[in-house]
Symmetry: C2
Subunit: 348 residues, 2 copies
């Protein structure tokens, strides 16, 4: 593993539902590995961003903040080393966003490939909410507020990092000095976990994901229902492993990689039934999820304590964001009505 | 005058330069008349908005905050009854703007006639900054934050009030109750003061305006240079009063309306020279500006006191805006990490 001891990492999730195994394989494992190996890892619970395509869903977002924080704690994220930051609890992020909106043209935002793709996938076309078009700028605020140097992303998110780089460079140029370090993308090496139904993406809203809080029964039922190879009718037939969801999950979660390779070869040449494979995967997932589920249930008994962790992380993050905002306000030539230190000290 | 005793008024200026006679005739006189006749009149010094087409001009905006506050005090605005509110000192306005951006489509913003016209007049075309496109939403935040019921505007600003109404209605609908009252436009009855050169608009940046802080000499020179009727070559010739800047200023500032009517008739039929007219206008403007200039000079000796007025007004406004924000956050289903009251009490 590379040396990240000087890096400040920004990562996080939109609290649109409890986290699932796709999040676990795609980002939580990575966060656990980075925790304690970097200077600081801010984990943003992006409730404001969740509103950009969810404005009507009031209530759900607030509830899911607790769910997501529970998931974080249950998998082993340590709020001391990886502070949980509630986005809406850091108003400085809104102030930074508003300032940065002056540095980006509408045409540039409309050219952003991630925004373009997501506008299409959500069917917004001409009815795209302004908040949605502007969310790369809000992400730039998130990243720069903490002077993050490393942002774990999938390659579909690279244009967001590029946009942040442009804004940071613009501020640095206005300031005549490096207010912001370069924020680099930390590209995920794990392939995206497919949905249980074989669709490209596992997602809570599509109902094709196994949530981290799923009961043992729910896990077993989900594994039973998994898409395999529809052409694999008799055990003795050769089976296809490409697009076979059971293999994707075994690759992601089975600790015995060699055994999975043997199974893959066996399945390909024929003679290995889906039932055997699914039994193995069920065991693997039950082993993985049982301790997470248990910790989660214990923590869920004291939601007040969970939210105190969120409040503490948010508070610590706010101090950093307020210092950054003061710097950026100076760059824009805005007047401080009171010493920034006082503003900070009095806020919480 | 109508009964405004129950109205909350929001008005203000972008601090892009010291105020001039165009501001005096177009809005300051109106504010002085409304002061004390309404529930409250917030006067917003819109420094963030000034950045939307001015992001490179760091420094100027901060300096002009003091200039504008001096102008307010010098003309007789009372910071108790008409609190001066520094926009960038009320971060709640940014938070409201970010929330509202989710309620407005990009297409709707692009259709806004005021934005369209201003994009053209500034020559932005495709390079319009996102902050500029979004500024009607920021204005909706300003207006709704204080639950303003009356917004003095010129008719070119009516689309902004309409946009605010749409956002407020959307929030009310989401809330299932009237969080916001209707904000009505209070249309200005005074015609816009033309530039000294006869151009449609007097503006500091065009150098065709008389600032409230102009010296007696500057005023006289400006009156001497005023555009009149280029076809009026001999005193005995009939003169044109339409487009004649001296008459526009006499209409706006000469307290003796009957005398101005007589002069107008005399000028039309011929026999009245520009020199006589300009001498009269010079006297009128000197009488108007001398006490303002004197008060302004006295106040300018203690800029700290002026900024304390701004800080006090901003503080009072922030308490109101924070209460509104709490309500709107609830409508959007955002979670409060701490009681809103505590957040409020501790902020300043």
């Amino acid at each position: 593993m590379d040396d990240y001891s000087n890096d400040i990492i920004l990562t996080g999730d939109r609290p649109t539902g409890p986290l699932h195994l796709g999040h676990y394989a795609g980002s939580l494992v990575n966060r656990l590995a980075l925790q304690g190996r970097c200077r600081r890892q801010y984990v943003l619970i992006a409730d404001c961003q969740a509103l950009t395509d969810n404005a009507g869903g009031a209530g759900r977002v607030a509830h899911n903040v607790l769910e997501v924080a529970l998931d974080y704690l249950a998998v082993g994220l340590d709020p001391e080393r990886s502070p949980f930051v509630l986005q809406s609890g850091v108003p400085e992020l809104c102030e930074l966003t508003m300032l940065y909106l002056n540095l980006v043209t509408v045409a540039r935002l409309e050219r952003n490939p991630t925004v373009k793709a997501e506008i299409q996938s959500r069917g917004f076309s001409r009815d795209v909410p302004a908040g949605f078009l502007c969310y790369p700028v809000a992400q730039a605020a998130d990243i720069t507020a903490f002077k993050a140097t490393l942002v774990p992303v999938g390659d579909d998110q690279l244009p967001m990092i590029e946009q942040t780089g442009e804004i940071a460079a613009r501020v640095n140029r206005l300031a005549g000095r490096d207010v912001f370090p370069e924020a680099k993308a930390l590209l995920s090496t794990t392939p995206r976990l497919p949905g249980l139904d074989g669709k490209a993406k596992a997602s809570k809203s599509l109902g094709n994901a196994i949530s981290l809080s799923a009961s043992a029964d729910e896990v077993s039922r989900a594994v039973q229902a998994m898409f395999t190879d529809p052409g694999h009718l008799r055990v003795s037939d050769p089976g296809q492993v490409e697009g076979n969801v059971v293999f994707a999950y075994l690759d992601a979660f089975d600790p015995d990689k060699a055994a999975v390779e043997d199974l893959r070869a066996h399945y390909r040449r024929g003679g290995l039934g889906d039932a055997v494979l699914k039994k193995r995967l069920d065991g693997v997932l039950q082993d993985l999820l049982a301790p997470i589920r248990e910790r989660r249930a214990r923590l869920a008994r004291d939601p007040g304590q969970v939210m105190r962790f969120v409040a503490q992380g948010t508070h610590a993050a706010r101090e950093v964001a307020a210092r950054t905002l003061s710097e950026v306000r100076r760059v824009f030539g805005l007047r401080e009505l009171e010493p920034a230190a006082k503003r900070l000290a009095a806020t919480w």
